[in-house]
Amino acid sequence: MGIEFFILMKSEWALMLIIFILLIIKVNGTYQDNAKLLLFTNILLALNFMLGFVSNQSGMLFNSMFHTNSLIAFEKNILNFATLIISLQAYTWLKNHKHMLEYYMLLLTTLLGMFFMISSGNFLMFYLGLELSAIPLAALVNFDLDKLKSSEAAMKMVLLSAFASGIMLFGISMIYGTTGSLNFAELPALITGSHLQILTLIFIFTGFAFKLSVVPFHLWTADVYEGAPVSITAYLSVVSKAAIVFVLISTLSPLFAGLTTVWYNILFISIILTIIVGNLFAIRQQNIKRFLAFSSIAQVGFILLAISAGTALSNTAAIFFLIVYTLSNLGVFGVIALVSDETGKENIDDYKGFYKTNPALGWVIALSLFSLAGIPPTAGFFGKMFLITAGASKGSYILVGIAALNMVVSLYYYLKIVKTVFIDPNEEPIVPIKTNMYLKLSLGVCMIGIVITGFTSGLYDYIYLLFRL
């Protein structure tokens, strides 16, 4: 134990520290001004993000329940970064919100759960992390207490999430039944491919699939995304998904190596369904949050395509894409959150003529959507290219073909929004909106990130290096 105990768990300790600081402030009840406190909290989160770069060591704790290395530290820091951006974008919404501190406490608790989940070396630990991240999230979805839609969304999420967890827990218990262990280090040798183990794999996968909104386990997604506050929708679509992808990368191929054919085939079907259905639904959405929900479902299908190859290079592609996806998605969400907070408008048609009144924000939407659609030379193009190359390395040309076709479809609907924003006339366009410093900072970071990651290969090389360490 000793100092190692603190260093290896530094990300978790830091989050807990922030949560407790906020809790003490809340309990004291002495603060007057939301704005100052928001500045303080954002500084804490920024420090937390910077901490993620220093003294990353490999090691295990609690009888290999908890393990970490530089890749995991990097993954956690991606989540830290995304949370920071989301927090910056929530400023408009939170500056007059009376439960501002609860928002941060709940949000950081879910993040803590995800950290434990990513670092877990044992299915028990993993399950604890999963639940720790799921339950506060349901509360966050219902954060606007006066909105009926939010309550409905939270209800759906809690119920279905419990349902999915139940099935997953069933799968985990069967793992213990067939192998006598829950330890990630011991499991690969024990999972040999009996029918019961296939059953466990399917049950555990459905749990992941629910969180990732993989078709056909995605049905909750649109309702919840629409009902939740925009900030939480962004969190669900970026942070929550990224965490599960990280876990999937570190469990699926290493633990179930004995069942490679099975999980590959499961992924095969899921990817095809996910990409196609996600795209088909995205086309017909009127609400911009629902639209992003479905388009992000399709994006997850692309990430799974890389994961299905199961090599270091393909995993690199997946993580690289996740970063690009984070930057691009948060770019759009930042604008949507602002518009929603200031005007309450959330329909795609409301955005007609948006460029005329808000040119800078219009460009942010355009660049982000270009990146999501994978148009060169934005980062999204390279992200998609790496994913498709990774998929092709496995030799699954059917998948690659379907993915490529769907890229064209997604191009259509992303560009349709760009057209709406830039070209379509509108009698009553959204009024010019004043942005604040926080939003400008967050959008600036996203846009610069989209351009720079598109033009330099350093990030990709770095992730690949982490995988080979």
């Binding site: 029918h195 459905t206 499961i266 639904f281 017909r284």
Partner: protein, 646 residues
Amino acid sequence: MIDSTYILLIPLLPFLSFLLIGLLGRTYFPKQCSIIGTLSLFASFVISLVVAYQYFFQIGQVNGIYQKITAFKMVWLQFSPNISIDMGILLDPISVMMLLVVTFISFMIHVYSMGYMHGDPRISVFYSFLSLFTFSMLGLVISTNIFQIYIFWELVGISSFLLIGYYYEKPSAVAASKKAFIVTRFADLGFLVGILILSFQSETLDFQTLIERLTTDTEYLNSATTASFFGFSALTWGLTLVFAGGAGKSAMLPFHIWLPDAMEGPTPVSALIHAATMVVAGVYLVARLFPVFSISAPEALNIVAYVGAFSSLFAAIIACTQTDIKRVLAYSTMSQIGFMMFALGVSGYGGEEGLGYTASMFHLFTHAMFKALLFLCAGAVIHYVHSNEMNDMGGLRKLMPVTHITFLIACLAITGIPPFSGFFSKEEILLAAYHSNKLIFAMGILTAALTAFYMFRLYFTIFWSKPFKSHQAETAHHGEAPGTMLLPLIILAFFAAITGLIRFGKYVSSDGAALISELHVDFSIAPVLIALLGIGIAYYLYKKENDTPQKLATGLSGFYKAAYGKFYIDELYLFITKGIVFNLVGRPIAWFDKNIVDGGINLSASTVGYISETIKKFQSGKVQDYAIYFFAATIGFVLLFIYLWS
């Protein structure tokens, strides 16, 4: 080492004058533009003379061999540790000679244009373009780097485009400028690919390093000659493609079609760009890379020889039938450049073998003088007659005595009558061809005879034939052109007459060592006699107006028509682009796009709509439904993977 700073002035002066005239001239000093341009060119010319004197008589020669001197060099763009694009000045016999030719002819043209373009409202634009062209051409000839030459090559192309289209209100001029630009762009594409091949093989863009690596026995040469593609080595392909670029600028077959149309530009422009300087850039390029052609890729050099010889004969035949005075001269230019090309093509490297190389450069030099002179004379005639058609002229020898005499000197020079300049260079070319390739020699002799014929056909028709009658010309001018136009004529005529006496081989040879070429009197007799025969026929047919030429043309009607129609090459290209590319390829693709692709897209769009309408029903919004679907999907996977798949 020469102090390089003042050599830089040679290209920079015209460039500065371009900026000055182009940016300010039109508004602030429209009247003085021509003087500024001319003075800057005069300064450039004087510096070139100094440089040439220093190079040839003071510093150029080391142990009897002329060295390649890099007088100035800066790295412009570093691609990789090995490959960079440099900008610099390379002095060697041919670049110094070209400096002289370009500045001298350009200076003459500047002077001449003061008279010819007098009163033109856009004269400042004209002079700024002229300066731009001169700058680009000078940059081209002093290039140290193959990419530098490419950059200036394109600049030259642009200024040529601008000048051909100078009379932009004339649709034919606009069309001609577009044609010239597009045709040469096609050829330049080959040039660029060639540069890429060469630089890939030799890992450098620098001329001297490239030539050294590809002519001596190095790994670069080995890999370049062993890598084979369609039966030729990579090196041969690279050089052939580079030559394609040269053929485009130099109007060799099959890229020659732009040159006759380019005569739509003002006549001084034709004289400068499309007779004396730019069109020989292709020859210069081949000469620049000559060691590589000659030592490492003789196949590519053979291509150069045959393209040159064939273009030369082909153009001479066409020239015999044209009636537009400038077009005759244009085809004659093409024919003479063909001479230079095949002279390079038949040449070997070093010593006596290198006679063709020296002869080619010599001919380039003399040709620049007499061809510029011919065009300027033609310009003077056109200026007076207000027509390009030979049939509108005749009997001008009394009215324009100076033009008459200078034109005659130029004709004698191009025909190769001793002691005029063309005789010496042409004799060397024919001699080189005689020793190396008899077929090409025969084509050369035939072309020489045709040259004599069409040049004197032109001469007799303009200055003798029927007496001149005109309604408007005499009221406008009386006889001779103004002094600014006559002075260049006289100077050029002087040089066209005497430059042949320079012992050219002493200064310019393939390997830098002096080449002493004797005058072979016994050999020269045949070409001179043949030229005299050509002149005699022209005299018989065109001295007095008569109907023999017409009868002859009717007798040879098929061939005459074909030649008059320039062997229908233009129509062939038109057929290929319109008939084949547009109709056979473009139309079906357009149809396919309109009906199949668009239809397919519409069909898929409606299918997508239908499917999404159907699966929308799953999205009911009821949480119990979602749970059911969730559960059903899990069970579905279980069934599929435990019972069916395994």
